[in-house]
Subunit: 623 residues, 2 copies
Amino acid sequence: MSPKITTELLKQLRQVMKSPKYVQEPVQAYIVPSGDAHQSEYIAPCDCRRAFISGFDGSAGTAIVTEQHAAMWTDGRYFLQAAHQMDNNWTLMKLGLKDTPTQEDWLVSVLPEGSKVGVDPFIIPADQWKRMSKALRSAGHDLVPIKENLIDTIWTDRPQRPCKPLITLDLSYTGVNWRDKIVALRSKMAERKVPWFVVTALDEVAWLFNLRGSDVEYNPVFFAYAVIGMNTIRLFIDGGRMMDPAVREHLQLDSTLEPEFKIQVMPYGSILSELQAVGASLSPKEKVWISDKASYALTEAIPKAYRYLTPYTPICIAKAVKNASETEGMRRAHIKDAVALCELFNWLEKEVPKGTVTEIIAADKAEEFRSQQKDFVELSFATISSTGPNGAIIHYKPVPETNRTLSVNEIYLLDSGAQYKDGTTDVTRTVHFGTPSAYEKECFTYVLKGHIAVSAAIFPNGTKGHLLDSFARSALWDCGLDYLHGTGHGVGSFLNVHEGPCGISYKTFADEPLEAGMIVSDEPGYYEDGSFGIRIENVVLVIPAETKYNFKNRGSLTFEPLTLVPIQTKMIDVNLLTEKECNWVNDYHRKCREVIGAELERQGRHEALQWLIRETEPVIRVQ
Amino acid sequence: MSPKITTELLKQLRQVMKSPKYVQEPVQAYIVPSGDAHQSEYIAPCDCRRAFISGFDGSAGTAIVTEQHAAMWTDGRYFLQAAHQMDNNWTLMKLGLKDTPTQEDWLVSVLPEGSKVGVDPFIIPADQWKRMSKALRSAGHDLVPIKENLIDTIWTDRPQRPCKPLITLDLSYTGVNWRDKIVALRSKMAERKVPWFVVTALDEVAWLFNLRGSDVEYNPVFFAYAVIGMNTIRLFIDGGRMMDPAVREHLQLDSTLEPEFKIQVMPYGSILSELQAVGASLSPKEKVWISDKASYALTEAIPKAYRYLTPYTPICIAKAVKNASETEGMRRAHIKDAVALCELFNWLEKEVPKGTVTEIIAADKAEEFRSQQKDFVELSFATISSTGPNGAIIHYKPVPETNRTLSVNEIYLLDSGAQYKDGTTDVTRTVHFGTPSAYEKECFTYVLKGHIAVSAAIFPNGTKGHLLDSFARSALWDCGLDYLHGTGHGVGSFLNVHEGPCGISYKTFADEPLEAGMIVSDEPGYYEDGSFGIRIENVVLVIPAETKYNFKNRGSLTFEPLTLVPIQTKMIDVNLLTEKECNWVNDYHRKCREVIGAELERQGRHEALQWLIRETEPVIRVQ
């Protein structure tokens, strides 16, 4: 990996920062955030502006360029990568280290008095704008919105914004048609007496209209906004894709519908002016509901007194609670996914000892097996295929420079998943193709105990996921071990593999209480730098739990694993398990054998079936 | 309990709300918060203004009186009590219920346009002022500070502010003299470049100067403020108590000291003007450090740009981490406290079957035994002595109207503690003097499992207490049970029985990470309305834990029980315990027998010793 040479680019950027063609007044600093206009986690190539200007292409990082300096803030996952990818025009600001200044403090320390700091108002979330603007103002500077993105003005070969065809999802996948979703949304709006709602997150637009796209890799979404009124629906979307007869029929664009379900299709770029028009038309006490993470540009389009901001939108919350059709789809997707992984691990077991399988080959093979399954669309994230020391790099993705060959002497960690038309998967298994050491087994078993502690946990209705996080760590903590990431995230239904508003993490964020029908991952781990990584991840469904008593009639919840892939028993030190944990493993494997066995049989995959049967033999405690 | 008749009082209050003698302009509403000027949890009789105006004397509640209405906001603990104590001039606003309006919303709904809402600026915390003022302003009203407390103007027989003699604590109790505490505080101030610090909480003043008082029942504190500069110390305190030679010597008031340790004693009432003078003297960039929970009056005394607000002060954090002398003192206090409880339970065992022991008699007897111990000062809170259904009332305090006789047929819960000159105790035991039912034993055992899960937990350095809360609930949750309070609170060292900044609770508050030397309670429970209450509480010390491994060299922590009172084994269903839990109980009882047995022996309390020996027999699992 050699660094990108940015001297010329920075020179150009500094020129446009002073050019009256683009800025009303020169700006002394320009901020280049990570995201897109929808605050997406995964972004399209045309939105990778920070990578373009700096060379650093990790998933998180903010660049700030002043007349004299160029600095990049990123977190511990990316210190090494950023250092490798950036030339020495750039200063790396390591987030989380004690002496690293905040962006605001750094700006204040380097800027001349009374400076202007520019940023694209579509890219910066409103809450971030507010914080930064306040800090700069109190130091005598100004944060100013620059309408034209200055990176785009110097990015000559910037890719087009993708505009790929849409997929329509019928009732058998979604369980609820889009009109009923609009009705439910409007009833939430009526409850809060808010007559307008702005949909800014891409997965929320996709979910609301039962449409999917492929504008962003791994995420089946498309670039669009929507504005929902009590009697109007406006969809802001570009391109010929609205000409597709299937889409037109799905959205009933050519039917005579009740007026409140008539969708007005408008250009993607017109959202701002339309929202401003809505803002200007409001009567007193009328408000517009918008996420507090929406862009500064859209938030500002609504006069302050008319904004109704919430951290989670009603769509985000409704989307998280899967209905029966979605749950059944997720089950089907996970069965197919397990079939692919049984094939893969059976294949690896035979091939790895030959010394010809690299991390990349294994990842490709996993994709190949998945792609043979019905309704396969694409992967749900970049496969983490890592052996030995690479397994300790939590967000590792094999590239030719790091690609390692799997062997019978090292632990192999595979974290992978796919998008099927009926559901999204995300599974991690950690295996050994030879004989694991006692220490490796010990660590694996603690991780497994944590995985089981969450998966088998029973907890009252209304419990927030972060209250379960310590269950996943307890066995590791007892021995002085831990892992430095959260335990679980929400998972979409043929949507983003990471979604809110629920999760399981020690970081106290405003997670919403878990409810039956929500789907999250359960993925504790243990990582030993330079040696190995262990993670055991299932996607689990929140279900009602039967309990002996029922305090205050609240009801209880627990989890049902949707992922049904054997957990390698060779890696387990069975005597570290309690009887209850041992039974959990055996019950889980019985279910894998029954459900996935039947599907392997049906698909005529006899060798993989034999592998499954071998791998699901019960474990027995000798104590 | 008959309600207080408040018609005449409310009439008088409404008159002074319009009287130019007290208010510049009439106020249409007057807020009477619960607290005192130091945001204390326990308050002196002269500060019980809300109880005076309404009759409701629970520990939490806010009264608002308008020209037409009088309303009281309180939480679930007090719905019944408030309803009984208030006459029908008052509307009870039940906090936590869905339809209960916030104070702001209610005010907006009842006030005429452009109203003024008054409040005593010394009683309302700055953060609460800010929230309320903003809400009122956005509805066209004004929150205004009323210098003279309007309740005091109509409270003819208002008690004097207490001004009791002080106790000086020497190095053997405190481990650090007050000058070194000032030095440490100034070094924290220097670190943050803040040259002034305002001490507003009563326990912080007491801790800083190694003084104790008895102005507030149960809390060994005294009314005072302090303002610490880099070279000055100002103590704001009233009365002849500064004439006490012991106090003068302790504070070296008459010695020739380095000027930076010279204490200027000033009248309690002069804090505001002195702080305003400090505020006016500041040069740019100089700031004044004050808790964000300090009163609006004091916060306003410092110009906004000069305020440095933090949720926890450096004193609060330093106070929480007990040094070796304090820890040893706490150990001694808990040994003495255990001796008293062994005597009590031995006495109860003999007396209860006679049917002559009421809750009040038992509470008095507990105090009697405690008062026989060396350095006993007073109780640390009102004893919760509750039998049968009264045990399910979490904050129960027996009064003649509710006083129940202990019997061999009901569970008895005793939550009590004391202030000794060397430490503060707080212990809950739940016992049965006859034969508990299988169900009672089952519930008790789940609570015990939760208690042990916290007490025996091992967790990394830097872990916040709220991450341990679910451990206390897991066994209850498994059966569909739970309890509706937090699991633990910080405990002072001969100071307030509840103190910050650490705790163990599902409520995510900004708790500081646990550190070796901190002391918290571990008190899960289970309550069945109308039947019984169970709680098992020890005070525990955070200590370093030995672990097999040491991830990232972070080190681990665990707890050591300071409370050493037997947990009634008769109440335990031993077969619900794991082997590890069973060993914990037996190890704990072995320690009780050794440590408390030796002290009972030394004090010649032979009968109580025999009781202790009987009660600490090991339990044996039959599985």
